[in-house]
Symmetry: C2
Subunit: 404 residues, 2 copies
């Protein structure tokens, strides 16, 4: 067992982000450079987060990694790209692993053990890889003493991970350079900019997604003419318009463009050959529900967006959240365990008016939505100071996980 003196550990958390202008398709598979810029909202870590511990000890003979308690192959290319990149930056930052400072700043050549856990189901279409690689980049940077922007480290793990490096509203600018150095994330507005904004995740299915996004993107780039047109001709103006909506807290504008961009992303998936379909009948019903809810109110009070899976992410304002949750309960009646239907932020139950029910004109379908997570905009990655939270023990192995 390594002695205390040669063991250093850092534990950080990182958030999930949800794109409102979607990223789909790479112009460089190796460097993970996107076909177009994208813009996302960072969700609060009180509800959804990845926690990662990185530990270094002179006694470690090799890099090792555990995800949700299971050891994974450390040789997987994307993980290796992150590790190479952070060590390159560590060398650049002058972190040489000098003997005297060893306890504070391990050197780039030191082997690292990493353990990471999500507090939400992996691969359920909730962008777990984005939070995971952002957390990895952030934690490795802390332990290797790397300062400055970590977009490239996170991006090499999973493109959209660079957007989880910041809180609030984040743009990943596609960049122009062949080496990708200008393909970086930056904060458009902080997490305190629009405090009324609320987010509801409608978990439609926790099954693994049918087509992984890496393979899906490749097929789309190869076969969809609509995707190329969207990326080149349509996204630039949408990026500018979305940034304006956020700056001005223009909810109807933000909501409409969010829905349009989600739909256009899924349109390019359908234009892919063979076609990719992430939306199922429940997703479609949720879309219809949102449009009818807005029509009833005569204004755009709620927006949906869907990533590479059937789950809906709903944006609304504080004053509308309770009514929309009630409407979801009406259209998708929860099963017997109705008390577990709503997780996250508390939402006061309100009735749905007969008038609204009549406008919706939708027959209730039990079990369409499994549960709802209510959350809001949140900050970027955080360092946890309490050594008790480390996921790795002094022996460099994962601690036994507490019962859920």
């Amino acid at each position: 067992m390594p002695s205390d003196e040669s063991f250093v550990a850092v534990t950080c958390t990182a958030p999930v982000n949800i794109a409102v202008i979607k990223y789909w398709g790479k112009r460089d598979e190796e460097l993970i450079l996107p076909l177009n810029s994208s813009l996302s909202v960072t969700l609060h870590q009180d509800q959804l987060r990845t926690t990662t511990t990185a530990a270094i000890s002179r006694d470690f003979l090799e890099d090792r990694i555990w995800l949700n308690g299971q050891e994974e192959d450390v040789e997987q290319p994307r993980l290796q790209a992150c590790l190479r990149e952070i060590r390159r930056l560590a060398r650049k930052c002058g972190s040489t692993g000098d003997e005297d400072q060893h306890l504070l700043t391990p050197g780039p050549s030191d082997r690292v053990h990493v353990a990471s856990v999500n507090n939400f189901p992996t691969a359920a279409g909730l962008a777990s890889s984005a939070a995971g690689f952002a957390c990895l980049a952030y934690t490795l940077a802390r332990i290797y003493g790397v300062e400055g922007d970590l977009s490239e480290v996170a991006r090499r793990g999973s493109g959209s991970a660079c957007r989880s490096l910041y809180g609030g509203f984040v743009e990943w600018q596609m960049g122009q350079r062949a080496d990708g150095r200008d393909s970086v994330a930056w904060q458009v507005a902080s997490e305190s900019h629009w405090p009324q904004l609320r987010v509801l995740i409608l978990v439609v299915s926790a099954e693994r997604k049918p087509t992984g996004s890496t393979v899906g993107m490749q097929t789309s780039v190869q076969t969809s003419d609509l995707l190329k047109f969207r990326a080149e001709a349509l996204v630039p103006a949408r990026m500018a318009e979305m940034a304006r909506c956020i700056q001005e807290r223009d909810f109807p504008g933000f909501a409409k463009l969010t829905m349009q961009d989600s739909n256009q992303f899924h349109a390019t998936c359908l234009d892919t050959f063979p076609p990719i379909s992430y939306l199922n009948d429940t997703s479609q019903r949720i879309m219809q529900l949102v449009h009818r809810f807005n029509a009833h109110h005569g204004q755009t009070k709620v927006a949906y967006t869907f990533d590479a899976g059937p789950n809906a992410v709903i944006f609304t304002l504080e004053d509308t959240m309770a009514e929309f949750v009630a409407v979801v309960r009406h259209v998708f009646p929860p099963e017997a365990n109705g008390d577990k239907f709503l997780k996250g932020l508390p939402v006061t139950p309100v009735p749905v008016s007969d008038d609204l029910k009549a406008t919706l004109a939708m027959e209730p379908v039990p079990r369409g939505v499994q549960y709802i997570i209510a959350t809001q905009v949140g900050p970027g990655p955080q360092v946890l100071d309490d050594p008790d939270v480390h996921l790795l023990g002094q022996d460099g192995l994962p601690k036994p996980r507490p019962a859920a």
Copy 2:
């Protein structure tokens, strides 16, 4: 009751057509001029047809029309446009309604009674309006003695109706003129050109379609940037390639492009705001089934296409039809009345190999597909000579309909 001498009736039938390069969106709503050219396959009238009787009598005081036994408002604009157009052509053809020739050639100013029936469910996404208006144009032309191309008459009723004026493989060229005179249908290849081609209609739902195609197209033209790009930049090359595939009887090429164009059409529907979705989970399963079936065989042996509804139209060759029908029966087991599951052309039952079932890897879902209609490529409109088939009696009113 009018006397025999002053009563003339003509009865014709016309086919349904299925577009393999899709029409969606008008550049002129009044003249019904399309944003892009389209190409269709005419289905055989042994299985799917509209039958229309037009009758003229000096005793008729007004134009009247009955659809499937119900009298309809003859003032509806599209019907009026057809009637105006056929009377304009009748005057041009010199059919003046001369007294001596009256029994053979009624004049343009004579009032007409029309009765029309489909032998398939109306508005079930089977392009009933195309067959209906083609049959109307063709029947009116016979009774008013109009010769030549009837594209404009049919088109004014329903755009795609002009494609039902010909058998085999038909192009509706978009045309360039503002008055629409060059927006006409013509036959790319006759119904005897590709005798091995077979068509299966998988009826998924006979409910009325959620968004009518007229309104849907308008919304798409107003809101979908992808639709404009498709129409201008992509369809012209697809038209040429589809014509080549048909001329050369290149089934894999025909099949792949048919699927791609169906998917792209539905992609532009999804890019519409609010989005339009005609494909449901059963439609998606059929698409997946086709791709897996083709993957199993290592070649494209089957294609799907979907119009403005969830029903699938399947193209395949004679030698593959029995196996594909068996596969549909396997994935969508018929209800108790399994003997009514397959209508139209006879198909010999064959077993599905365990190997194929394993490749499909799809759990059977009862009641997904209601029934299948097996058909093939067929001829254009026909005149029926037997006066017993007239849908209108000598009194100018619909005859009692025979029990189904």
